[in-house]
Amino acid sequence: MNTLFDKIWDSHVVAKVDDGPTQLYIDRHYCHEVTSPQAFDGLRRRGLKVFRPERTYCSPDHNIPTVNQDKPIADMVSRQQVEQLTKNAGEFGLTLFPLGHPRNGIIHVIGPENGLTLPGYTIVCGDSHTSTHGAFGAVAFGIGTSEVEMVLASQCILQAKPKTMRITVDGTLSPGVTAKDIALYIIAKMTTGGATGYFVEYAGEAIRALSMEGRMTLCNMSIEMGARGGLIAPDEVTFEYCKRRPYSPKGEEWEKAVAYWRTLPSGDDAVFDKEIRFDAADIRPRVTYGTNPGMGIAVDEPVPDCPSEADEQEKASFEKSLAYMGFKSGNSIEGTKVDYVFLGSCTNGRLDDFRQFASIVKGRKKHPEVTAWLVPGSWEVLNQVKEEGLDKIIEEAGFEIRQPGCSACLAMNDDKVPAGCLAVSTSNRNFEGRQGPGARTVLASPLTAAAAAVTGVITNPLNLI
């Protein structure tokens, strides 16, 4: 006990069901248009109000176009779902950052940048990438729509307490190796289901050295190894980020909050159910070669063989993956022709990510055969990109920056990668058809995505630094 996770969890226990789950109080609930309509319907059916409307914040992000947001959404079904969120937020008295609002954006980007996500909080959202908010030292996890209804109705959720795991990354990262590469490295080592049932704390020198954006990237992808969530102890980097955000505490309240947050990190005597250590020096720029995020390699490594000890289902699944991607065991992945590049998503759609992308494309040109979608996570990110002049660098290299949203990460809007085309994507999932039916996805960091965008092939970004 005495871990960061246990301290937060235990302080939010309302009751314990006999022989059952814990009733956990939720400090912050985020809501988007895709996983909430049925929950609001449920409230109506039961004749219920939202129990604590001031704790829920809504933003449409999944369905929204990334061009012409000032015009009505052309896809009628998408438009209806977005309008439904507006209607529900109005009817139930919830704060909404609608399309075109200066605070609109991907819910996992705007929560932190508005100071709605704070250390020590319990945070849920009908979205598996809610784990992002763990970067602040919060217990944050994705839930289903029935659970969204529970939170709206009672500000509580029933959950079995997960086991705890600490993943320590010692040492320092080499230049050109990013938080995304750490995430893809850890997930490949752990496998796509290897952390199922656990809440993961990331620790160690390499983690402490990450910016808040980098920490969010890492925690965001915790779900891709099956973890219930991931979190990082709050420190000066966290406090500096949270300070002076629109919704963060001010004045005396701020001082009190920081004093409390300082008590949260895991004690020296903290006991985890599982401990794993990696060395930052072993991490190189990463890519995926298969159809789950655990199927990853360093960009300069050959595509592996299926492990010889694998059983029949595992072999069949591995071969299905490679056949879908069009890759062969033993072959190099570098030099593979790239059709699309996507910079964005709740994983890599923040200022740091645009900085990384710009650092590679500066003074170079977009490859003529690559279609590139650069989608900031929020209007605030876009403003920061412009303030730093990154937009000029990016535009001079032949790219354009689109309007914010989830975009090609899951292709619910028009940003779909055509069947058979290969995309190098900074998003979080390379599942079959994730970026459009038949689309093939290679996950990578913003640096590796930028390297692909200017060369037209999968390229080790270290060659361009």
Partner: protein
Amino acid sequence: MKQKFNNVTSSCVPLPIENIDTDQIIPARFLKATSREGFGENLFRDWRFDDKGNPIASFPLNNPRYSGQILVAGKNFGCGSSREHAAWAIADYGFRVVVSTFFADIHKNNELNNFVLPVVISEPFLASLFETIEANPKAQVSVDLPSQTITNLATGVSEHFDINPYKKHCLLNGLDDIDYLLSNRDKILEYENK
């Protein structure tokens, strides 16, 4: 949606693939509906139908040999997106039980909240179950919630499965978590006033 669960005895549909993610169970482009109904027709859409909408004959759901209320899948079923639409699609299609060696956490909760029973079995039991179905697609499997037992009736081999006692109570009686949480309002107010 609330439906009491007791015992299901049925033939099975086999999906001997690992890490089946919820994007495969129900692709994102079908998540735009604002009701819970009708997702079954797009269950495993891109594995079931080609890009012209024609059924892919080799996929088990299209194979007339296989039918039943029990879906048997490889390990780590339901990983990825939290979309409850995946559980709605499974239930709407007519499955009442999903059997695997382990489930992704969020999807497992989503199944339980929709009165679909995720049954976690051992690797040898799963391997033998796939063999049984392959040999005789009409082979019956019995899943009994009160005794927490799954039985391969073709081989007579049984295995005990775990389920949280509270969730078992909910499934047996057709109750959901919101009923419970609403009955606990005093405790919530007490917590808030602490």
